[in-house]
Amino acid sequence: MEPTKLPPVAPALRARIEDFLAEIARLIDDDAVECWPEAFAEDATYRIIPRDAFEAGQPVGILSCEGRGMMRDRVLALRTANIFEPHRTCHVLGRPRLTPATDGTIEARSTFALYRTQQGGRTELFAAGKYLDRIIERDGALRLASREVVLESGQVDILIVLPI
């Protein structure tokens, strides 16, 4: 099978999208997770799902949000309600593969590796997988209309509380 030839995305737009995706990862890694929902459109969806469940078409993953309200609830819960051992994250992002869709949105697929550092100092690979994003432009700013976080493994070490 030959690699798919993708329609070109203007270099300036690609640069904006790459910066946008890097910024979303930074918000999580730099403990600015309150701003993370603002990267999404108001009615956007977000889901973390293991690859096996995703490929089997199963609707339940590990975490899902319908709309920015549920994302803000997640952030509020992790700040005020949930109890867990303090840890930090470090996302390493791959170059996004961009596909313009006919409706004017852009589909982006990028791989990631996510390292987690516990308060004791252990740094470990916590997750690897891909983001399947649909990106739109609203009022001059890029937003995620949907993000599927597809994890290579369906086995989570300890817990997930921060978005990925």
Partner: protein
């Protein structure tokens, strides 16, 4: 290293009985080895998989009993078999994929091939090559097979047992447990999702945790604040006659707020939800029960939180490591709207569950906290020292004591 049980014949369970649990039970390798033999291979039924994982002839699915790998198959006649996933020749895994479909099971090492009932069908080079080599003349394929174990199904759950002394499944479960399983799982099921969680603690800490109705609304703030489950709801803890299985239940509509909650951390989170659809629920049963955590000794839990139906199974992966599997289910006749609610409510539990993620670390905190204190014991007197149902109050550790009662009987401790 502290003295192990085998090296220390003086080990005695504390005189107070099951209201005390020595911490060494979570870290002693001798105890761990004894559990594999006496408990997991003892006269009990172990959960293996769901019937919907092996719906058709030729389907297979892996499971585990303690550390022993098991494969469940459905043969050409539709009959289920549970087999130890170990080639009769060299002991390699015969079945590699977690789940699949096959006409036979063939070991990749030397191509010994078994039918789906585990009978040896063929052996590569049995007669050697060009008349040389091969198995001896008296080699009898019928004398070699995958080790079968007993299998039972109940309400879509598949169980296996190594012991001929295990009673039939309904007797093992007892009438209350069987009745509640029929309520929650007694209809055709469909799988909505699955994942697992590795927690860094001995498996028995999770067995306790899931029977611990005392902690649920204290540690898991989300339960309390959004009134999904509180101890001041009408509810109770029902134990099986032998004490080792349990059912914690609550009725969300029957809440009389108690002043005691004003003092607890978990009730201090006042905000409303910005995505309130998370808790949209529909009434499925006319008994008013909206929250159920049912345990089946030793390592199975069935959860129905609002409409979120899940079969949880946990298994030891070493002395201080446990894998917890979350199987999210719906009923085959669910409409789109019902499925959507179950999908949203799945956010409550699992590895990222708003009301369960704390359990991913809390048992590890006990594992770490108890290091070096092997001769100290847990103190479990909430609700008294008895093993008995507690109708009307879940401020009790009775189900944990019940687990230990069942554990001690099997382990001879």
């Amino acid at each position: 290293m502290f003295a192990s049980v085998a090296a220390d014949p003086a080990f005695r369970w504390p005189a107070e009985g099951v209201s005390r649990v020595p911490f060494r039970l979570y870290s002693d390798p001798e105890i761990y080895a004894r559990e594999q033999q006496r408990l997991f291979r003892g006269p009990i039924w172990n959960y293996l998989c769901l019937e919907i994982d092996v719906p058709n002839s030729g389907d297979y699915c892996q499971g585990t009993i303690g550390e022993t790998p098991i494969v469940v198959t459905r043969d050409d006649e539709g009959i289920l078999h549970a087999l130890v996933n170990r080639c009769a020749h060299k002991g390699a895994l015969v079945c590699l994929r977690q789940r699949g479909h096959a006409d036979s099971l063939t070991c990749v090492y030397h191509s010994w091939s078994y039918d789906l009932a585990g009978r040896l069908q063929s052996v590569a080079f049995r007669h050697g090559l060009r008349g040389k080599g091969g198995m001896p003349d008296d080699f009898q394929p019928s004398q070699h097979r995958l080790q079968p174990i007993r299998l039972a199904t109940f309400c879509g759950l598949v169980f296996g047992s190594f012991s001929d002394a295990t009673p039939d499944i309904e007797t093992f479960l007892g009438p209350q447990v069987a009745g509640v399983l029929r309520r929650n799982l007694g209809r055709p099921l469909k799988r909505l999702g699955q994942h697992s969680q590795v927690i860094h603690n001995n498996w028995k800490l999770y067995a306790e945790n899931v029977r611990d109705s005392y902690h649920a609304t204290l540690l898991h703030t989300f339960y309390t604040t959004f009134k999904i489950n509180r101890l001041d709801m009408d509810g109770g803890m029902i134990l099986s006659e032998d004490g080792r299985h349990s059912l914690s239940y609550a009725k969300r509509a029957q809440l009389t707020e108690s002043a005691e909650y004003a003092k607890v951390h978990s009730a201090q989170y006042k905000s409303g939800l910005q995505g309130p659809q998370l808790l949209d629920a529909f009434t499925e049963f006319d008994d008013g029960i909206t929250h159920m955590i049912q345990t089946v000794f030793p390592t199975l839990t069935v959860q129905l939180t609002l409409n979120s139906l899940a079969v949880r199974f946990f298994t030891p992966r070493g002395i201080d490591r446990t894998e917890l599997f979350w199987n999210y289910l719906g009923y085959a006749d669910d409409d789109e709207n019902h499925t959507a609610m179950r999908v949203r409510q799945a956010n409550l539990t699992g590895a990222a569950g708003l009301v369960s993620l704390e359990d991913g670390c809390i048992n590890e905190f006990v594992q770490r906290g108890a290091r070096g204190s092997e001769d100290v014991s847990e103190f479990l007197e909430m609700g008294g020292t008895e093993v008995a149902s507690s109708d009307g109050s879940r401020a009790t550790e009775t189900a944990i004591r019940g687990f230990w009662q069942g554990y001690r009987a099997l382990m001879g401790l």
